[in-house]
């Protein structure tokens, strides 16, 4: 049963948005890694937004992929925020402590507003 994940990139002043859709599982590794690389390739964004509003499923391997993206971003001095998580996956971000390191916004609008305010 092949699963799918897609990532669309949007560059903003001071930040980049990675809009994810589909399933974040083992098959999403290349999509997530390459999505992050595309997001930071130009403009050296201070903040990377992971938008999960169109994600239907995240499993433990997907959590590990998110941990890897977070570790990479932190090593490059970037902040990671997330938007659009369902209540269930917000709970999982709390249990795993990802929410200690990734600020959560209910929707992409809140995350983008923060980027714009930070960019002046």
């Amino acid at each position: 049963m092949k699963t799918t994940c897609e990532a669309d990139i949007r560059i903003l002043p001071g930040g980049a948005v990675i809009t994810l859709s589909g399933e974040i599982d083992g098959h999403a590794a290349d999509t997530l890694t390459q999505g992050y690389e595309r997001a930071v390739a130009d403009g050296d964004p201070a903040t990377v937004v992971l938008d999960f509003a169109a994600v239907q499923y995240i499993n433990s391997t997907g959590i590990a992929l998110i941990v890897s993206v977070l570790a990479r971003a932190r090593s490059q001095g970037r902040k990671v925020v997330a938007s659009g998580l369902s209540d269930h996956y917000r709970e999982i971000f709390d249990i795993t402590r990802l929410s200690d390191f990734i600020e959560l916004f209910p929707s992409i609008d809140g995350a983008v507003s923060q980027i714009r305010e930070a960019a002046g």
Binding site: T3, A64, D100
Partner: protein
């Protein structure tokens, strides 16, 4: 642990999935269908689905080593206000004895622990109780979730 001899014992579903990566999605969908109408609030159904998916993924990958011809057996039972899901592979006892290292995000971010290793951790936090038994090659994970609207909260007990 819930007695299978309970007078309210009622089998809701019994099925198998081939041991192919991704088939945990089939398992969680069929378990969700089986427990529909059993009184699980949506948030607890989401937890059960995550636990089933993680246990099925472990059975497929680690138990049956992605050999499609070896099925993962799944049974769903309602008994005394509990939903009991058993997930069985043919991998025998896991190679690692005793509890594994608890995932620690701080250590993972520092590169001191691999990013993976969240599966069992998630299962334990999603259900009210779990049990792991091995009988010959049959390795079974039992997940227990109470039904009822007043059941929001953490795990009731942990047998692992």
């Amino acid at each position: 642990m819930t007695s299978m001899a309970s007078s309210s014992y009622h089998k809701l579903a019994s099925f198998t999935v081939p041991s192919e990566p991704g088939n945990e999605r089939i398992a969680l969908a069929q378990v969700a269908d089986a427990v529909a109408g059993q009184g699980l609030p949506e948030s607890r159904l989401d937890r059960l689905k995550t636990a089933v998916a993680e246990a099925a993924m472990n059975a497929i990958e680690h138990g049956n080593r992605n050999q499609a011809e070896i099925p993962v057996d799944i049974e769903v039972v309602a008994a005394d206000g509990d939903i009991v899901v058993t997930i069985t592979d043919q991998g025998g006892a896991p190679e690692q004895a005793g509890p594994g290292e608890e995932p620690d995000l701080v250590r993972k971010l520092a590169g001191e622990q691999a990013p993976r290793g969240w599966g069992l951790f998630l299962i334990r936090h999603m259900v009210d109780a779990m049990d792991v038994t091995t009988e010959g090659t049959r390795h079974t994970v039992t997940l227990i979730m109470r039904t009822g609207a007043a059941e929001e909260g953490g795990p009731r007990e942990d047998h692992v």
